[in-house]
Symmetry: C2
Subunit: 401 residues, 2 copies
Amino acid sequence: MSADDVELLARATWSALVEPGDAVAGTLVGLLGAVQALEWVRAALRDGPDLAALEDRHGPLGDADRRRVVTAVARWAVRLPDCDPHRDLGNLDRLGGSLLVPGDPRWPSALDDLGTTAPFCVWLRGEPDLGAVLALSAAVVGSRAATSYGERVAFDLADELTAQGLCVVSGGAYGIDAAAHRGAVARGGRTLVVLAGGVDRAYPAGNARLLETVVGCGGALVSEVPPGSLPTKSRFLQRNRLIAAAGQATVVVEAAWRSGAMSTAHHAARLLRPVGAVPGPVTSMASAGCHRLLREGVAVCVTDAAEVRELAGAIGSGLVAAADAARSADDRAARRRDVLDPVSLRVVDALSRRVPTDVDRLASLAGVTVAEARGAVGLLELDGWAVRRGAGWVVAPVASP
Amino acid sequence: MSADDVELLARATWSALVEPGDAVAGTLVGLLGAVQALEWVRAALRDGPDLAALEDRHGPLGDADRRRVVTAVARWAVRLPDCDPHRDLGNLDRLGGSLLVPGDPRWPSALDDLGTTAPFCVWLRGEPDLGAVLALSAAVVGSRAATSYGERVAFDLADELTAQGLCVVSGGAYGIDAAAHRGAVARGGRTLVVLAGGVDRAYPAGNARLLETVVGCGGALVSEVPPGSLPTKSRFLQRNRLIAAAGQATVVVEAAWRSGAMSTAHHAARLLRPVGAVPGPVTSMASAGCHRLLREGVAVCVTDAAEVRELAGAIGSGLVAAADAARSADDRAARRRDVLDPVSLRVVDALSRRVPTDVDRLASLAGVTVAEARGAVGLLELDGWAVRRGAGWVVAPVASP
């Protein structure tokens, strides 16, 4: 067995031994390495925890830290007999999956930002080069109890982000998550589903076909716990930190006042990843969480894919300016008025559409001098705003606002 | 004629002589007083502008300033012959209106924040004590082309703000403005309509009955131009600064990408008044302006009257916290879980609803020590989360999430 294999088996063991987000285990592996840390645990179960060995690497441990380590070891003792990385890897193999560990060129280094709560490994089905998949990415998350508005927005956002080459990361749940994954696969693009349980468990069962489609479209299902693991509530909460870390930005499309998506947003903010929230009707409780994120300054307001892409720091953020320009196309008339100086604007406003107005009257109505009115109306005639009729002027038909 | 009358007549004249927002006129009146400034103008029309007299008060004028003054005087010359404050005040009198000038105890000092562009006077129909009316106030503005969503939100906001004793300020236009005024009068409360034209002109005509109702409910119609004045486009734009100054905060309910309400919001921001924007569906262009204000950091997200009231700095901003608490009433179950420590949470998640689980298995499933599982499940039983069955435990029916 090569050193790589030993490392892989040790990390697979760690992922089965401890609950996701166990910072004591993360610290131990960080100090000693996955293999040695596991040996340290086995020795601890025989002879008691060798805190001195940890202190050699870490420096002196306080009383609270010592207690945390002792308690953690006692917890792991319960599970260690059940850990069988060969069995778990065999199961993964039968699913056609891959196990990624740090050091693998395909390892998504974004997850390292989680520090002592980074996953030990990633159990994966589908495209194994997660590093490449996540190089341009955005998490799109939200409530299970989504409205048709939220699902439409999530679908459209994911569709457009995918068209722009971003990988949409989400949790595979009903509602917003599913709509986001569907938008990505509708474009035939790669999307990443981060599961709370094992990658052999389509959860929720109603999304089983969608999850297969994700794999079929070059995307992936990933989990930090081995195949066969149950998606427990605490794993759902921990899973949110992985979604937040995997995306270069996190966007909440719809979230009730309390929602798992809120936790994902806060994880992203803690990781200094940009967070966006899509607003919705204030009459809909489904958007109350998004509005809360905006009010509290956790998230910025995002309304389309270009703004999300800008948030994710992807190349071509000039797209936002382009979208703004397009959006204003429908008020070109208003912009046309903008080119007029204040005097001309007031003179235009003083013109009637039917009754000709002479220069003296124009000056009085517009509150400008007679000379200004004469100059302005002459230029306005040249520019097609005003038409001379008899001794006065009227608004040119085409210029009417 | 008393000195007060002379001042009143001078200010009425200024309001007819110059276009709203004329900073040269405002500066002149600021330097010399309304009466003397008018005499200065009359002398200037006879003998040319006495810039030295201005410099005595102001300090040396640059070339650009001198040109601005000379041009301004030439503009005013056109209108001065038409100015007749006695006629205008007579017309106001026939309408049962009042003219407010600075120094009047009823003058709304909030307007003074506009500095050199503050109005010279306020022509008013309805409740004349504007200072009292505006002591607690919020401007609620938005697009004419509003959606039923926007009108509903504006109506409800105004209704609740009025119930909380705030005066709703708006522009009397179709759409959001009208909905806001309607919400206020539906509560039988006072609301302020800031018109771009004279207070004798119900504009738009379709809102004539609404404007009469506003007066009948103890509110007021106000304008900075005399009765008979037309609501021109430039006066609409200038009117927005008065709305922004009159409200202690400005809230934009619905605004397209370019909208008069956007100008009101920017005026309010320039006056350092808090600005709120009500979000809406990103699929609705009617909310695009609101989202733009949020994205650009001009406005904060507001979703209900309590948040607007907080923005306006009114007493009792604790209402927001209360509303938050009420909003969360429907997820008391989720909050209930929050009181559990992480170990108990994992033990609860490991419990089945039907199949009893013993302590050893609980410990393994939850990833805790056997002692922790035993302790946790005992406390969970006491707290009504778990029920003992045979050698194990199941979730208590009432605790199921």
